[in-house]
């Protein structure tokens, strides 16, 4: 008998989780903040697929509409009004007091 629902445990779900973690690491490490925001939206999109696998279609729809579209758009509007690139500066003395 063919199971009518997507299986929550299988190689597809494991693969999506692995890709999601990889994209999240890239999103955090990219200097270009536009790339970081797009990575964050991709993490939300993969999470939305996982919500569907976990039998939560309501949450999957909300996450796809909010996380992948609106949240990324709001971040990009903020980038437009500030700076796009993250600058790395040298450490000032006394860092261990402030940090």
């Amino acid at each position: 008998m063919i199971h009518p629902y997507p299986s929550a445990s299988g190689w597809v779900a494991d693969f999506i989780i692995a890709v999601m973690i990889g994209v999240a690491i890239f999103a955090v490490e990219w200097r270009d903040l536009l790339g970081a925001v797009v990575g964050m939206a991709a993490v939300s999109l993969f999470a939305s697929i996982l919500f569907y696998f976990l039998q939560a279609p309501d949450v999957a729809m909300t996450e796809a509409a909010i996380g992948a579209a609106l949240s990324g758009a709001v971040f990009i509007f903020a980038l437009k009004r500030t700076v796009r690139y993250e600058t790395e500066e040298e450490e000032k003395p006394g860092w261990w007091l402030r940090w």
Binding site: A13, I21, S44, L50, Q55, A56, D58, F75, T82, E89
Partner: protein, 114 residues
């Protein structure tokens, strides 16, 4: 040995926490907070999952004993929408800080205080 979903959500939470602790750019910190929020949502939903059962929408073929736990889903549904609104508010604070100080680096902003 924990499930792959638990592993993925814990990894997302750890990545977000690392960003908040180490990075200096305010927008990058907010990206990390968003990733952390996605991880928490995924953790809640995967705790409510019951294997072999379908979504909690009762119809023909899906009785009350064949559905997953609906309460975490109801919780996460509203949390996502509130998350984007509060993120937008934090972003507008970041825009105001950039207008005042000309930088998004939190160390610089702390030094220029007063």
């Amino acid at each position: 040995m924990i499930s792959a979903y638990y592993f993925g959500s814990i990894a997302l939470i750890m990545i977000g926490l690392y960003t908040v602790l180490v990075k200096k750019n305010l927008l990058k910190i907010l990206v990390g907070l968003s990733i952390m929020e996605t991880g928490v949502n995924l953790l809640l939903i995967s705790i409510g999952y019951i294997s072999g059962r379908s979504a909690p929408i009762l119809s023909e073929g899906v009785g009350p004993n064949q559905a997953v736990d609906p309460i975490p889903q109801a919780l996460v549904l509203t949390a996502i929408v509130i998350g984007v609104a509060t993120t937008a508010m934090a972003l507008s604070v970041a825009i105001l800080l950039y207008k005042k100080y000309g930088t998004l680096n939190i160390e610089e902003i702390r030094r220029l205080r007063g």
